[in-house]
């Protein structure tokens, strides 16, 4: 027996969504704080002297004066807890520190890179959605062979590693056919291969989810009653089943964007495109701690924002979620 009568649930309808939004924002702030804290203390685990790293590593033979100077410049001579709160204070003003390697403010550095990566991810997300929905619709309701082909394509697509797919696409479309540039120049043509590389594996994952929910929806009694009213196959899809198939994929878009941002590390490197991913990889290789921290925080921020947005979008798309809220 489920407690709670339907009337009681209905009464808290609009308020529940507002309360939910408040909770989501509070959760997002908490996650960001925790990510900053976790990153800050993880970085302190690095063996060696950060001042040495700033001056180019142990091989640089920096003088004691230079080291002391760096320590006081970067606040490294302060107790850890003071450094921590100083970092949080700077974060609140949008100050992400100064790059060890480039000696530039990290915030400026990343601001210049963010747009490209977001554009790349957004385009890939849209393409993945279109591909996945197309495949899901094509492979359902057509018998066993289409269904098996659909499942095969999905599993294969989801298994494709970005770095290999990128290489194969370059080999075919840039080297053999010479249709598209092998590097991500700022031109639209330069975006094609990186976007496709990111989109195909994601489409594989999304298509699995969409096809499953499409199959689920098609077995629901409301499909039978809609058909009994004279609804056509196309009408069924447009008015009923596709909407149901989209719901879980909407909820997944937060995860998908995070996955794309992570994939951007590989794809931007292979296609030599400017962006957060390539900046992160270079910073990891050079152990440029402020830049690594900055990218991690920025990605966490984008991911958390997207999670909040998808949660609200899912509620708009599915009235049932609004009713269940607060349970």
């Amino acid at each position: 027996m489920t407690p709670g009568s339907p009337t009681e649930q209905r009464r808290s309808f609009g308020g529940a969504t507002l309360r939910r939004a408040g909770l989501l924002v509070a959760g997002a702030v908490f996650v960001l704080w925790a990510v900053a804290t976790l990153t800050f203390f993880a970085i302190r685990l690095i063996p060696g002297d950060p001042a040495q790293a700033i001056l180019g590593g142990p091989g640089s033979q920096a003088s004691q004066e230079a080291l002391d100077q760096v320590r006081s410049d970067y606040g490294l001579d302060q107790p850890l807890i003071v450094q921590y709160f100083a970092m949080l204070g700077r974060l609140l003003t949008g100050d992400l520190g100064t790059s060890y390697a480039l000696k530039l403010p990290v915030a400026d550095l990343l601001a210049a890179q963010l747009g490209g990566t977001l554009l790349l991810s957004a385009l890939s997300l849209v393409l993945a959605w279109v591909l996945a929905l197309g495949l899901a619709i094509w492979s359902t309701g057509r018998g066993r062979i289409a269904s098996a082909v659909g499942e095969g394509i999905e599993i294969t697509a989801a298994a494709l590693p970005h770095f290999w797919l990128a290489a194969v696409l370059i080999a075919v479309f840039s080297v053999a056919l010479d249709w598209l540039p092998p590097v991500g120049t700022g031109t639209p043509a330069g975006f094609v291969l990186p976007v496709v590389t990111l989109a195909i594996p994601l489409a594989g994952f999304l298509a699995q989810v969409m096809r499953d929910s499409l199959l689920d929806a098609m077995q629901q009694p409301f499909v039978m009653s809609a058909r009994a009213r004279g609804e056509s196959a196309a009408g069924l899809r447009v008015r009923h089943t596709i909407r149901h198939a989209s719901l879980p994929a909407i909820s997944l878009s937060g995860w998908a964007l995070g996955w794309l941002l992570s994939g951007a590390v590989v794809v931007e490197t292979i296609f030599a495109m400017p962006g957060l991913g390539r900046t992160l990889l270079q910073a990891v290789t050079l152990r440029d701690i402020p830049v690594v921290t900055g990218v991690v925080l920025l990605v966490a921020l984008v991911y958390v924002l997207m999670t909040v947005l998808t949660d609200l979008a899912a509620r708009i798309a599915d009235p049932r979620l609004r009713q269940e809220s607060g349970r």
Partner: protein, 291 residues
């Protein structure tokens, strides 16, 4: 939702949607092919010298950059080494990295999941928040952070990949345990007067853990891909090693002239991932009383 949760959800749902007519005694063709591929991988791991056609490290500059031929099935690399044999030689490393990373992720996930579901409300709340925070380092991000701290290398890469899969496992394991603990058969055992310890040992753990091993099968493929990605970026196994990701990285320079150096190691990764997914789904179907 994480990739793992996605994989599990789709495997379960694919099993549910499997056509009823397929319920014969014979496994599906796809499952057989996947099984054969995994057997090949195991053979290459245990006895690479029997599966390989040549010495994987025999340098022969005369034979450099040969395209695939009956003598060199997958061609040769810049030093004239046989790529097929190097792939076979690299199987053990690549599989080991995938399996070890999965084991690390699973172990951590188990600890967190069991804590969350048995540790009371406060612990549950804490673990759930921790998992949420870890999810805010999507994909390779957490792995990259680990590498910044501990420096690149195959061991760090393995641990890093394991760590980044842990929150996904934790959430699934917690969900599994919570749903079984509130299931009707656990309640029925209580009504029969069974002690909590006995219910845990006889009902909760076996029913929760068996699907988790299936899940691990689904996870190994993804772990191999991630570890290979780190190798490819130069943060995992380094090029002289016959690891698949590292072989791909070495082939990158010669992509325009020697496509086989890139295509075949990558195909092995793709094949392994597909095989583990197909097998994981077949195991899920079996768990549901189908073949």
């Amino acid at each position: 939702m994480s990739d793992l949760e996605l994989q599990q959800a789709t495997a379960v749902s694919a099993a549910a949607h499997a056509p009823a007519r397929r319920r014969g005694r014979m496994p599906r063709t796809g499952t057989l092919v996947a099984g054969a591929f995994v057997l090949f991988l195991l053979a290459a791991t245990v006895a690479p010298e029997l599966v390989a056609t040549q010495d994987p490290n025999a340098i022969s500059p005369v034979d450099a950059f040969q395209s695939p031929s009956p003598a060199h099935w997958f061609g040769t690399d810049e030093s004239g080494r046989d790529i097929y044999s190097r792939i076979v030689a690299g199987t053990a490393t690549s599989l080991l990295i995938g399996v070890a990373a999965t084991a690390i992720g699973l172990a951590l996930g188990l600890v967190l999941g069991v804590l969350a579901s048995f540790g009371g409300r406060i612990v549950d709340f804490g673990v759930n928040r921790l998992v949420e925070v870890l999810f805010a380092f999507p994909g390779l991000l957490l792995a990259l952070l680990v590498i910044v701290v501990y420096g690149p290398g195959p061991v760090t890469a393995t641990v890093a990949v394991g760590l980044s899969t842990a929150p996904g496992y934790a959430r699934i394991i917690r969900g599994q345990l919570v749903s079984i603990r509130s299931s009707q058969y656990v309640e029925a055992a209580r009504v029969l007067g069974r002690s909590p310890a006995r219910i845990l040992a006889r009902h909760v753990l076996p029913n929760a853990l068996i699907p988790i091993f299936v899940l691990a099968t689904l996870g190994i493929g993804q772990a191999i891909v991630w570890a290979a990605a780190l190798s490819y970026l130069g943060l995992g196994a380094q090029p002289p090693a016959a690891e698949w990701g590292a072989m791909l990285a070495a082939g990158r320079t010669y992509l325009a002239t020697a496509w086989w150096m890139t295509v075949f190691p990558g195909l092995m990764i793709v094949g392994t991932t597909i095989a583990t997914t197909v097998l994981g789904r077949a195991l899920t179907r079996r768990g549901r009383g189908e073949r």
